[in-house]
């Protein structure tokens, strides 16, 4: 009998499992950072985590709140300047996996973190691209973690902050990009991968207890389910324990700061 767990834990554990021990990851804050550190503390102890603040090989004790907390530097193999991070390490093609979040994600894996509505007169002004536009094109492949609802999982993003497969799914090819772009999307309901031909995101597995209808309702396009649709394996007790320990340590550290 598996332990009870939250949808967010399911999402983070599933994302962590996708990482390999020899991956070099460019890590975003939030769920991506949780997943990467969970992987490091479980099956991928040698994984290299790079934060855009220039910390290479960070092994933080607690999850950083920002991309540049002191713990990242203290535990890193080395810390380089931000220009070097983007030029030699990201643009230089040294990163195997980029982990991104999204305010909006569309059927072709394009990411919007810039504006809801019109750019010049936005309904909501979001933080913007940061490192993501180039992470999206220079990492070997991209994993996206995003909570699954109709506000986020849209047919067409209002603004392409970071390229997925483009407006018609074929843009990377046209641009001559050698990297794969989004190969994996992990939500709190399911796991999606692009169709090998059209690059439209399709559901490859559903998390335990989630129905096909619920995924359909939460998705802003007429979503396809793979014929061999699977159930995502639930988190193990060991995974949950490590994740909860990590989050408890983190909570204590950040609330205690001052």
């Amino acid at each position: 009998m598996a332990e009870p767990y939250t949808a967010s834990e399911m999402m983070v554990v599933t994302a962590a499992r996708a990482l390999r021990n020899d991956d070099v990851c460019f890590v975003g804050i939030g769920a991506p950072s949780e997943a990467c550190n969970l992987a490091r503390l479980t099956h991928a102890p040698d994984i290299t985590l790079i934060y855009e603040s220039g910390t290479i090989g960070a092994k933080p004790e607690v999850l950083p709140l920002s991309i540049g907390d002191g713990d990242l530097c203290r535990t890193a193999l080395t810390t380089v300047s931000v220009p070097e991070t983007f030029q030699y390490w990201l643009q230089g093609g040294r990163i195997s996996v980029g982990f991104l979040g999204a305010a909006q994600l569309d059927r072709f894996g394009n990411i919007n973190t810039t504006v809801i509505g019109d750019y010049a007169r936005p309904k909501v002004r979001l933080p913007g691209g940061g490192g993501a536009p180039e992470i999206a094109t220079f990492c070997g492949e991209i994993y996206v973690i995003v909570p699954h609802d109709r506000r986020r999982m849209v047919d067409r993003v209002d603004f392409i902050t970071s390229l997925g497969h483009g407006r018609d799914g074929q843009e990377r090819h046209r641009l001559g990009l050698q990297t794969k772009g989004p190969t994996l999307v992990i939500t709190d309901l399911c796991v999606m991968r692009p169709n090998p031909t059209t690059n439209e995101l399709e559901v490859v597995s559903i998390h335990p207890g989630v129905t096909v209808d619920r995924v359909r309702e939460a998705t802003g396009w007429e979503v396809t389910f793979r014929p061999d649709l699977d159930t995502t394996p639930p988190p193990t007790t060991a995974e949950l324990e490590v994740l909860r320990d990590l989050k408890a340590r983190t909570e204590a550290a950040h609330r205690g700061g001052g």
Binding site: L65, G68, G70, T79, R125, G129, P133, T137
Partner: protein, 269 residues
């Protein structure tokens, strides 16, 4: 290089209408200097910073900025910068012109500025919509392969303000830990002001390759212990993550923001 008080340094080196870069990538953000800029009521500044962070949220909310050049405008790990959003979405307290880039572009643009180049050439922005909204994103063709590369103008601030761990008595400055784009931002600027945690007899860099800015690249050094709070100074104090969380509440509301600024910025210094 001269040693000045914070008040003197900002009065002398930051002028209304200047292009000002206050850098520090999460680490070593020059908050004390930012507060002094607010207290002195500087106006019409073009604020340049990769991550505006709370420091520019405060400057924008206080009405110092005319324009913002940036690449990621959030409260790191928390959410929105509400004063920044209020300025962009509602023009409060004044409309804010924005020039938006990616981190890769801004980092390269500072490096180009430090290198005396008119522009930075890199690979960026592929397939993004930002290229349609920022006329400062252009292209050049590689004269060997014919590939199309991206170009953005070099960043050349009128004045760069940074915070660092230490200066020695000659004004040489040591930066350690997450070094961000501070060296580039200082070397790209016409004038540079550095606040430091302490002034010491011997800089004692831990490595021959430690990041040191020679005194002759700096105009003013100011001793300002704690000057990076609520960001942090590696080796001195940690990031006050709880304040970053609190700021979300403080900054949501115009009145609460103004009250906080009155109590914590205007009444000091």
């Amino acid at each position: 290089m001269e040693f000045l008080s914070l008040k003197e340094a900002i009065a002398e080196y930051v002028e209304d209408g200047d292009v000002v870069a206050m850098e520090g990538f999460t680490h070593l953000i020059p908050f004390a200097a930012g507060h002094e800029v607010i207290r002195q009521g500087k106006r019409n500044l073009t604020l340049v910073r990769m991550t505006p962070d709370l420091i520019y949220d405060q400057l924008i909310g206080a009405g110092c900025a005319r324009k913002l050049v940036f690449s990621w405008g959030g409260n790191p790990g928390v959410g929105s910068l509400h004063r920044f959003r209020d300025a962009v979405e509602n023009g409060w307290p004044a409309p804010l012109e924005i020039e938006e880039h990616s981190h890769a572009a801004m980092a390269a643009a500072y490096a180009a500025g430090a290198s005396g180049l008119p522009c930075a050439v890199f690979r960026g922005y592929a397939g993004t919509d930002l290229v349609d909204h920022n006329p400062n994103i252009r292209t050049v063709e590689c004269p060997f392969t014919g590939e199309t590369l991206s170009a953005v103008p070099a960043l050349k601030p009128d004045v760069t303000v940074i915070h660092a761990q230490k200066a020695d008595r000659r004004g040489n400055v040591l930066i350690e830990g997450i070094v961000g784009v501070q060296k580039e931002a200082v070397l790209a600027a016409r004038k540079a002001v550095v606040t430091v945690e302490e002034v010491v007899d011997d800089l004692a860099p831990s490595s021959p390759n430690s990041v040191v800015l020679p005194a002759w690249t700096i105009d003013a050094v100011v001793e300002a212990p704690g000057g990076a709070w609520p960001s942090y100074a590696y080796g001195y104090y940690d990031r006050d993550n709880s304040f970053y969380l609190e700021w979300d509440e403080i900054s949501r509301d115009r009145e609460r923001f103004s009250a906080w600024m009155a109590d914590h910025v205007f009444s000091h210094g």
